[in-house]
Every structure is written in structure tokens, then in C-alpha cells.
């Protein structure tokens, strides 16, 4: 912005055109953005790499199926448990959510736990989330799905170790 305002105030430049091309186009136009962007890109990729789901012993697997009415959650550790609109997870352990859809495209998003990932017909996308502390986290469906889209929200409930065992046994408090 400063660069924009200055030419209004100063007298006509005495430099020749070739030098100006060197300064403005090669210096500021080419070198400057390339350096900044390369650094930013490297940073972004390394962060992205850390967010990837990796195999581990204490990873909990759940399934989330998007519907125009609500999200349906299934649990690998408790095959007979199904919840609507609420995802129960243990706090402090990584959770892999297998995201699918029963109808149109949805997107699974719990802003405080992870980025969003789409639910696409015929595909399974896996999102790694992890809650540091027990509590309720708001979740949203983030791909426009027609009327009723604004009401397509859900809750993620993170339990402490005891609460999670209770949940798996089917005792919801």
C-alpha cells in the first residue's frame, strides 16, 4: 500500500527503464513471491502430513453416515450401538471417522477437533480427530444439501476413560 501511495508524492524518477524492470518485475514480482510462497508451502505441507490418519494401537474406529435428516454413527468396538446426531468418542485417544453418505454429498466438520471432509456417494473418506479433554464439541454438515441444510448439525461427546467404557457397555448416563 505504501508503494502505491508514494508515486503520487515524489518527482519523476530519473532511473532508466531497464533498471526499473529489474527492480519491480524481477526483484519484487518474481523473486519475492517465490521465496515467500515456497516457505509457506513447505510449512503447510508439513502440518498437513501431521494431520493424516496413521495406524496405531489405541486408534478408535467409528463410522459416520450422512443423511438429509441427520448423521448416523456406528461403532466398531460396540457393533450393536448406533447413535443419531451424536458421536461418542474417548478423550485423549485418536479416532478415525469413516465418512459415508446415504443420499447427497455432505461434509463432516467438527471445527474444534479437525478440518472438514466430504461424504461422497460410493466412497469412504477417513478423518482423524482427537479431543484433548472430555466435553461436548459442536459439529456441522458443511456442504449445501438443499432445504433443511442449516439444521444439519450434530454433537461430538468426548468421554473420560470410565465414561467411554460405560458407553461401550451400553450404559448411557
Amino acid at each position: 500500500m505504501v508503494l502505491l501511495m508514494l508515486p503520487f508524492r515524489r518527482a519523476k524518477s530519473k532511473h532508466d527503464e531497464r533498471r526499473q524492470v529489474r527492480v519491480w518485475i524481477i526483484g519484487l514480482g518474481l523473486v519475492f513471491p517465490i521465496v515467500v510462497l515456497a516457505a509457506l508451502l513447505a510449512y503447510g505441507l508439513s502440518i498437513g502430513e501431521r494431520l493424516l490418519p496413521r495406524a496405531g494401537d489405541d486408534v478408535v474406529h467409528v463410522g459416520a453416515q450422512g443423511r438429509l435428516s441427520n448423521w448416523t454413527i456406528t461403532y466398531e468396538n460396540a457393533p450393536d450401538q448406533t447413535t443419531e446426531g451424536t458421536l461418542h468418542i474417548p478423550a485423549g485417544r485418536p479416532v478415525d471417522v469413516a465418512i459415508t453418505t446415504a443420499d447427497v454429498i455432505h461434509s463432516f466438520w467438527v471445527p474444534r477437533l479437525a478440518g472438514k471432509l466430504d461424504a461422497i456417494p460410493g466412497r469412504v473418506n477417513v478423518l482423524r480427530i482427537e479431543a484433548d479433554a472430555p466435553g461436548d464439541y459442536a459439529g456441522l454438515s458443511a456442504e449445501f444439501s438443499g432445504t433443511g441444510y442449516d439444521r444439519l448439525i450434530f454433537t461430538v461427546t468426548a468421554h473420560d476413560a470410565a465414561g467411554w467404557d460405560n458407553f461401550l457397555r451400553g450404559d448411557l448416563e
Partner: protein, 696 residues
């Protein structure tokens, strides 16, 4: 022959019919360019009113202003109208009006095609407007993702209006692109080699080539989706072997280049207007052209960044994230070339310059948020929130609307031949600038707080109430500002204060004529020897009016011009244009019958419409046929040229080549779709033994 007598004779040959009739039969590029621009701004007003309705709805929580069914139509139509019925046609209109004048010739390559394109645009746009008035407008969001837009989840006719109406409008984009490409390559003033071409023409050429390669994937996608909806072919239905991701690929294969299709002509306006406002020449002409070409190529390689959240493999994400950040480099080259131009010259704060400063400020912020969303982890959070909506408005309003307003005020004296009398423009600019930034800065913020795009309403406890109200107030200030600009333009056209010729002291050829421009542009065509012919020779306009150039003697009632060799700019052919005709409007009406029959499922009229188009096309070429051979003709200044119809590489040949390019992209996209379904679709019918196991 005196100048006035020459003017009368040329006007008799070139003029459109008088009165209302002229609208339907004109093939003159000045008329059609103005008609394009007026229609596009009409749609701009409608799209803007829809935006006001959106902001009215979101101003307060749990608003009962519009129900979700209506609200979904409103935002879908806002996006669709602004993209397809305002932005692209504005570029087409500006290029159609300006190119022959800035290139120093008398008309575009195919005058009747210009008219055909305009009428396709007008009829297609009217179809969408009628759908909106009847309350059956498309409602699936402007990018129409299946399966939401498939017949199961959108059974109404709404989606068909989008698919068929937009395809109809796209005909005009393809027609204009072919026209613009051939005109820039062949229809220039003698001596104007490629490196002496005004930089606006370079940008228009690159944009037109991008339209020819960027629009066919969208047209293909629309055709496939409509075939799926109407006849049940499962291109995007996963349980029957299709894949809904194919639509996203085809759509963004168009959609991302589209952003640059809008930005490049605006950059052409900036590169033309900015040096004149700074009383200098553009810095780094060659670098800017190279950067624009690089931008065009790169823009086709990063459509996937609209699909970062669809779960594509991480390697692919890394590659495309790199490409998305890389695209900032040629943009940076252009921005710094423009800032360098300002340092080189002595900028004056006139009205077009104000809008250019508005562009710099807004577009740089839009570019920075663009780099932010190119970083994948950030995009996983921001995707589909109001942050993205705000980002894209910074890019499109900053990168397109501000430069177009600069161009509007810059070329307005050329269109009307008048001087600004009321000083409404400066105040209007201030309102637009302030209103825009209040609206969309607030929207960035509320997006980061988690407000999703396209929600019809929200709850008071979400905590977005104040920010949304601020944003809505800002948007109404913005709307008042734009309303004042339009009033300013109308007042300008109505006040009778004649302006002087070339009011800005520009160096390009469009100012070497009387304003408003005569139907024939130049009484005789100039011989060009530099990038700014008018700066070298301020009396050029007078000399051309006296007939001291090529083709200064009207003969046989012919609309004559000449074409040049593509690279060197040496004159190589003599051209006779067709005269006024109603054929284009008739043919686009019959084309409209074709689309309308598909829309209303009156399939028995489809073959009739096709036969009608074939018959009219046959008549179209028949009119220009000659029964005798034309000898080589003298064109003035001692040069004799063969007539284009007598040579092998006529303009029609070139037009066919570029139309076939668009066709090749269309069928190339079809092959891409087939390969995509074959390799990637989860439910593709497996033929035993025909696929490698890794693909199953």
C-alpha cells in the same frame, strides 16, 4: 473527395437501419458491443438486488424474510447471474465494442456471428429470468453438485432451467471467443505486428483462447447431467456405475480457469488505463504478456483446489497445493509491473484512477486470502464457510468490478462523445469502496467463527448477530454506491456537453476517430509503426478522416476492410463484409426453440428445430457466395491485395480452426470422463479380466 463527403458515403454503406428495426438487423460491432454491455449491466442490477435480498435475510437471526425454498433460489440465481449473465458478457461486450477500434480496423471478423451470439445470450438469459419470476429458478447452488441436482433429489424443472439455459448462453461465449481470436490475429491495422499490438488485445486474445478450452468441459457436464435427468443415463449416480465426483472435476475444470477468464480482461483494462492515468507507457510489456500466458496455462492445472475436502490422495493434494501457490507468481509479476508503471510515471488522481486504486487495495487482500486457502490444512477449516464467500468476492469484485468501473469511466466519453458534467462519480466511488470492505471484511470474520455459506438463517446464540448486521449495512451502502454510478452514467449520456476528442491524451488507436464513433470507425485505415500510434502523431485522426490511409475511397457499396499477416502485420487480404440482416436473430430464435423443446420435453419439435438451424446456416453461407472471380484490388497507398474469398486461408478457415479447437476440448473432456469413470468410479461395472486388479 473531401472528408465530409467521404463520411457521408461511408455512413450510407455502413449504417444500421434506422429506428427500432436496427436493433434486430444490425451486425455492427459498435451497436452490438453497446447492446451486450447494457444487457450485462441490466443483469448486474438484478444480481445485485438478489444480493440485497440475501443480506436482508442474514441481517438478523432466525429471519422470516424468505423461506429456505425461496432463499436457495435467491443465492443460486445470484451466483449464476453474476458469473454467466454479467461477468462473461461484460468482457464480450467490451471486447466487441473496443477491439476493432483499438486494433485500427472497421469491424470484427464475423459480424453476423457477433449478432447471433448476442441473441443467444439475450434469449438464454430471458429463459432464466422467466424461471425466476415464476418461482421455479434453480436452487442447488451455482455449482449444481449431483446427486443433489439429480432427478431423485431435485425432481422439479428448476435444475433443467440452469443446465439448458446456461448451455444456451454458453453458445454466445464460444461464438464471441472464436470471433475475438480471429479478429485479433487477422484484423489489425497494417504494420501492427504482434509485438506492437495494444496490450488489451493480448489479454483479450488469451482470454478468448481460454474460453475455447475452458467452457467445453462445463457444456459437456451440463449435457451429461441433463441426459441423466431426462433419460436416466447414470453418469453421476454411483449405484449404477457413475460417480458424482466426475461432475466436480468437469465443473471446476471450467470453474477455475473461469476466474482467470474474468481477471485477464480486467487486467487488460488496467494495463491500458493505468499508463494513461500516469502519463507514461506500461513497464515491462513483454513480461506482462508472458505472465498472462503463464497464468492461462497454470489456471488449468489447479481446478482440484476447489475439491480439497473431497478426500483425494495426499500426494495429489500436495502437488495441487503447490500449483495453487505457484499461480500467485505471475499475478505478482503483473501487480508489480503496474506499481512500477506508477513509479515510472506521474499518476493523476482522476476518476478511473480511483477505481484502479480500489482494485489494488481489494485484489491484493483477495490474493492473500487466496494464498491462505491454498494451504490445505487451512482450507479444511475454511472450506464452505463465509470466509470463502468473502474471499471470492474480494477476488471478483476487486479483480473484475473495480477495473471494469475504471474502464467504464475511461471509455464512456468515447461511447457518448460527451464530457462528465455532474460530479457524482467520486462520491459513488467512496460509497462503493467503504461499503464493499465493511460487508466482506465482516464476512471473513463470521466465516472464521464458523458460519457456513448458504445457510438460510442462524440462531442468536451462535454469536454472529452483530457481525452479520454490520455486513448487511455495509452491503446496502455498497448498493447505494453502485446505484449512484449507474445514475451518473445515465446523466452523463443525457447531458449535452460535447467533449473534446481524446480527453485523456491516450496513445491507442480507438481515440483516433470522432466520438461517438462513426459506424465505419476509420474513414481510412492507418499504417502503424509503434505501440502508441496516436502519441507519435497527434494529428492522425484528421489525416485518416482526410483519407490518407488504406481504403479511403468507398466503392461498389462494399463494407471493406483488410486483414494482415498474423506475426508481421503486413497486409495480406481484402475483405468484403456482409451487410445488415435479420438472419442472426432468426437463427438464434430457432436455436432457442431447440433448447426450449428439450426443457419442456416436447421432443417432436427437436428435429424440426435442428432442421431449421441447418437450413438457416446454409442460407447464411449462401448469401456471401459470388458467381464471378474477383481480381486483386488496389487498397490505397500503392498496395494491391487479393480478396479473401479467392484465397485458401480465408478468415472463415481460421474461424473453423478455432471452433474445432473448442470441439476437440469437448470430446477430450468426454474421453476424460470415460477414463475417470473407468479407473476411479467406485461402482463402475466390472468386466471380468478386463481390468488390472489394482484398479478394482
Amino acid at each position: 473527395m473531401r472528408a465530409l463527403e467521404r463520411h457521408r458515403k461511408l455512413t450510407a454503406i455502413w449504417a444500421s437501419e434506422s429506428g427500432l428495426k436496427s436493433w434486430f438487423s444490425t451486425v455492427n460491432h459498435t451497436d452490438l458491443g453497446r447492446m451486450f454491455l447494457v444487457t450485462a449491466f441490466f443483469f448486474f442490477i438484478i444480481g445485485g438486488l438478489l444480493a440485497m435480498l440475501i443480506r436482508a435475510q442474514l441481517a438478523t437471526p432466525q429471519s422470516a424474510f424468505a423461506g429456505p425454498e425461496i432463499y436457495n433460489q435467491i443465492f443460486t440465481m445470484h451466483g449464476t447471474i453474476m458469473m454467466f449473465l454479467f461477468a462473461i458478457p461484460t468482457f464480450e461486450g467490451l471486447a466487441i465494442y473496443l477491439l476493432p477500434k483499438i486494433l485500427g480496423t472497421r469491424d470484427l471478423a464475423f459480424p453476423r456471428l457477433t449478432a447471433y451470439g448476442f441473441w443467444c445470450y439475450a434469449f438464454g438469459g430471458a429463459m432464466l429470468l422467466i424461471a425466476m419470476v415464476l418461482g421455479i429458478a434453480p436452487d442447488g447452488g451455482w455449482f449444481m453438485y449431483p446427486p443433489l441436482s439429480s432427478s431423485i433429489y431435485s425432481p422439479g424443472i428448476n435444475t433443467d432451467f440452469w443446465l439448458i439455459g446456461i448451455t444456451f448462453v454458453e453458445i454466445s461465449a464460444i461464438a464471441a471467443a472464436v470471433e475475438i481470436t480471429v479478429s485479433i490475429l487477422k484484423y489489425r491495422a497494417p504494420g501492427m505486428s504482434l509485438d506492437k499490438m495494444p496490450i488489451f488485445a493480448w489479454y483479450a486474445l488469451i482470454t478468448a483462447l481460454m474460453i475455447l478450452t475452458g467452457f467445453p468441459p462445463l457444456i459437456l457436464g451440463s449435457v451429461l447431467l441433463e441426459v441423466e435427468r431426462a433419460f436416466g443415463f447414470p453418469f453421476f449416480q454411483v449405484d449404477l456405475g457413475g460417480d458424482s465426483l466426475l461432475w466436480q472435476h468437469l465443473f471446476w475444470l471450467f470453474g477455475h480457469p473461469e476466474v482467470y477468464i474474468l481477471f485477464l480482461p480486467a487486467a487488460g483494462v488496467i494495463s491500458t488505463v493505468l499508463p494513461v492515468m500516469c502519463r507514461t507507457t506500461i513497464l515491462g510489456y513483454g513480461w506482462i504478456v508472458a505472465a498472462a500466458v503463464a497464468l492461462a496455462f497454470l489456471s488449468f492445472g489447479l481446478w482440484v483446489h476447489h475439491m480439497f475436502t473431497t478426500g483425494i490422495p495426499h500426494m495429489g493434494l500436495a502437488f495441487l497445493s503447490a500449483a495453487s501457490t505457484l499461480v500467485a507468481v505471475p499475478t505478482g509479476v503483473q501487480i508489480f509491473a503496474w506499481i512500477g508503471t506508477m513509479w515510472k510515471g506521474r499518476p493523476e488522481l482522476r476518476l478511473p484512477m480511483l477505481h484502479l486504486l480500489g482494485f489494488f487495495f481489494t485484489f491484493v487482500i483477495g490474493g492473500l486470502t487466496g494464498v491462505m486457502v491454498a494451504v490445505v490444512p487451512f482450507d479444511w477449516q475454511a472450506h464452505d464457510t463465509a470466509f470463502i464467500t468473502a474471499h471470492l468476492h474480494y477476488v471478483l469484485f476487486g479483480g473484475f468490478v473495480f477495473p471494469i468501473f475504471a474502464g467504464l469511466y475511461y471509455w464512456l466519453p468515447h461511447v457518448t462523445g460527451r464530457r462528465r458534467f455532474f460530479r457524482l462519480g467520486e462520491l459513488a466511488f467512496a460509497l462503493v469502496f467503504i461499503g464493499f470492505h465493511v460487508t466482506f471484511l465482516a464476512m471473513h470474520w463470521v466465516g472464521l467463527l464458523g458460519q457456513r455459506r448458504r445457510i438460510p438463517t442462524y440462531a442468536p446464540e451462535d454469536g454472529w448477530t452483530t457481525i452479520n448486521l454490520i455486513s448487511s449495512v455495509g452491503s446496502f451502502v455498497l448498493a447505494i454506491g453502485i446505484g449512484m454510478i449507474l445514475i451518473d452514467v445515465v446523466l452523463h449520456a443525457l447531458t449535452a456537453t460535447r467533449g473534446r476528442r481524446n480527453p485523456w491524451g491516450a496513445g491507442t488507436l480507438e481515440w483516433a476517430m470522432t466520438t461517438p464513433p462513426p459506424a465505419y470507425n476509420f474513414a481510412s485505415l492507418p499504417q502503424v509503426s509503434s505501440r502508441e500510434p496516436l502519441a507519435d502523431d497527434p494529428d492522425l485522426a484528421v489525416r485518416l478522416a482526410k483519407g490518407e490511409g488504406y481504403l479511403g475511397k468507398p466503392r461498389n457499396g462494399w463494407r471493406e476492410t483488410l486483414t494482415v499477416d498474423i506475426a508481421s502485420g503486413k497486409p495480406d487480404m481484402h475483405v468484403i463484409y456482409p451487410a445488415n440482416t435479420r438472419l442472426p436473430i432468426l437463427m438464434s430464435a430457432v436455436t432457442g426453440v431447440f433448447f426450449l423443446s428439450l426443457l419442456l420435453k416436447f421432443y417432436w419439435t427437436v428435429p424440426l428445430a435442428v432442421a431449421g438451424v441447418v437450413f438457416l446456416a446454409w442460407k447464411w453461407v449462401w448469401i456471401l457466395g459470388r458467381r464471378d472471380d474477383l481480381e486483386a484490388l488496389p487498397v490505397g497507398l500503392g498496395v494491391t491485395l487479393p480478396n479473401a474469398a479467392m484465397t485458401g486461408r480465408s478468415p472463415g478457415w481460421w474461424g473453423t480452426v478455432f471452433l474445432l479447437t473448442a470441439n476437440a476440448t469437448f470430446f477430450g473432456s468426454l474421453l476424460f470422463g470415460f477414463a475417470f469413470l473407468w479407473t476411479v468410479a467406485p461402482g463402475w461395472p466390472r468386466r471380468s479380466g478386463s481390468l488390472p486388479r489394482s484398479l478394482n
